[in-house]
Amino acid sequence: MIDRSEIENNVTPEQLAKRTLIPQEKKTKKRRSSVKGIIYTLLILTAVICFIPFLMMLVNATRSNDAILTGFTLIPGTALMENYRTMMEYVNIWNGFKNSLIISVLVTLLTGYFSALTAYGFAFYTFKGKNFLFVFMLVMMMVPGQLGLIGFYELCKNLGILDTFIPLIVPAVASPFVVFFLRQYIQTTLHPSLIEAARIDGASELRIFHTVAIPIMMPAVATMSIFTFIGSWNNYIMPLVILFSPEKYTLPVLMGFLKGSQVAQNLGSMYLGIAISVVPIMIAFLFLSKYIVNSISAGAVKE
């Protein structure tokens, strides 16, 4: 539907305006500016609605329990440090952050590399059973993760890897959707003659993959990596089932833990705990929003 080159291009409103090309009528200019004002107001209102829960969270994180129970205000309180101490007494949020990061980063790296490898294998070699395997993989792609949940749990129990990060990281090697996406991508972007040329130069197959295929696939891998990372970061049910020791909990599981713990007696501490789990992501997003938005567009349009 859309040129591949646009995966990296941020589409500006001006470009879009050109695309939709609807005639300019001069006499309605005045009316238009007032319509524009209304639309802007509505947009800003929507933006405020988007943001207000976060604002409430940030303000309340600085207020004491009884202040929050008495009423709502936008003026920050002074109980921030006290809330922090109460929270840290029961739940170490930073530890959850660390666990989530370790898992998500490793999952992203594994998914990226092995999916590229598999996609390359599917795209540039012909071997017996290739089509069958590819179709089988596509069928399995439709299977929701929860289907195997109970079997997965039993498997991990038998392998003795419950309460470790292994079941949360290693399965990332096999990500059918990413393989599918990358195969479609590389089939159209990498010409077989490039591979032939490399072979004539005497490069080994794996080396060709590393030096020729990977760089070409990189934009698509990056696109998929964002989804992989967000998906892994937000994963709740798997770590909830697999991990038992609180010091190994990931951030999402730790949030559920927070709800049942004694921290829940103190609303200020609760808000602070939630805020700590949210704010670093918001800051990271400030820097990365462009890539993320483009990836989503690309992911959707490419399918």
């Binding site: 969270m57 709502f72 959707a300 349009v301």
Partner: protein
């Protein structure tokens, strides 16, 4: 050259090894458990189709099924309408809105936050007596009596739907925007010559051409929606209160397996969920593509 093709197997081997162990095997094992009365420890006794018979007659599963659909449906309708309106606003050449990337980022922001944090946050914001939302609404005089959002089935389900909308409309907006920017300007020029107004342009050109994109949003949202778990689990007591209205299919599966230790039955629930997902994805696909063969060639 031919001998090089055996590298193909080597390249896809790691994928398949892990895939077999961590994907295929658990799915098969779950299938086996669905015919047993396994309770999480001890031995599993094969009980034939008993679990499936129970599943068909299980009003909680049926309830979970309808709850999941209601919550997802309201959320999807809202999110797609908002996304379309926003996309129309930002792509209209006559209005020439500025700040697309700013608004896009703000709208998308809620989607990045860990769902369990979102659930916890709204759990306390929506509290009956002391939640900030009721306090604000009462202060500005919208309501005189605090609303017990999470204690009535309709408001609880609506709350989940709205939270989902809040989380996802930005995402849908971005995707729709991408779709709109892919539509060739020729169509609009032609429409202009034919004297079409804004509404006609939208319904006759934009919408039909956006169909693949809308389908994409719908299928991905549906698959995610049917697996709704984190929000209902953490928003109330974890077993679907109030009045079973937040009992979703995956939550039911989780509770049967890990809370009540009915692993065998939970496995059957998982397969029930799977079959439903397949059927409804097929229906959605068919209803949107049934009449248009030419587009069906797309993946």
């Amino acid at each position: 050259m031919k001998n090089l093709n055996r590298y193909g197997y080597a390249f896809i081997a790691p994928f398949w090894i892990i895939f077999l162990i961590f994907n295929i095997y658990p799915v098969a094992l779950t299938f086996y458990y669905s015919f047993t009365n396994y309770s999480g420890s001890g031995t599993a006794e094969v009980v034939g189709f008993a679990n499936y018979q129970r599943l068909i007659a299980d009003s909680y599963f049926v309830e979970a099924f309808f709850n999941t659909w209601k919550i997802w449906g309201v959320n999807f309708a809202l999110q797609i309408v908002i996304a379309l309106i926003l996309a129309m606003i930002f792509s209209d050449a006559r209005v020439k809105m500025k700040g697309l990337s700013f608004f896009r980022s703000i709208f998308y922001l809620p989607n990045l936050i860990t769902v369990s944090s979102v659930a916890l946050l709204f759990g306390i914001l929506l509290d009956w007596q002391h939640g900030s939302l009721n306090m604000v609404l009462m202060n500005i005089g919208v309501i005189s009596e605090p609303i017990n959002w999470l204690n009535q089935p309709t408001t609880a389900q609506l709350s989940v739907s709205l939270i989902l909308t809040w989380m996802w409309f930005g995402h849908s907006f971005i995707v729709v925007m991408a779709g709109v920017s892919g539509i060739s300007t020729d169509f609009y020029e032609a429409a202009l010559i034919d004297g079409a107004n804004r509404w006609q342009t939208f319904t006759k050109i934009t919408l039909p051409l956006l169909k693949p994109i809308l389908l994409y949003i719908m299928i991905t949202s549906l698959i995610g929606g049917l697996q709704l778990f984190d929000l209902p689990m953490l928003l109330t007591d974890g077993i679907g209160s109030p009045d079973g209205s937040l009992n979703t299919m995956v939550l039911y599966l989780y509770n049967q397996a890990f809370k009540y230790n009915n692993y065998g039955y939970a496995a059957a629930v998982a397969y029930g969920l799977f079959i439903i997902t397949v059927i409804f994805s097929a229906i959605v696909f068919k209803s949107m593509y049934g009449n248009e063969r030419k587009q069906a060639r797309r993946v």
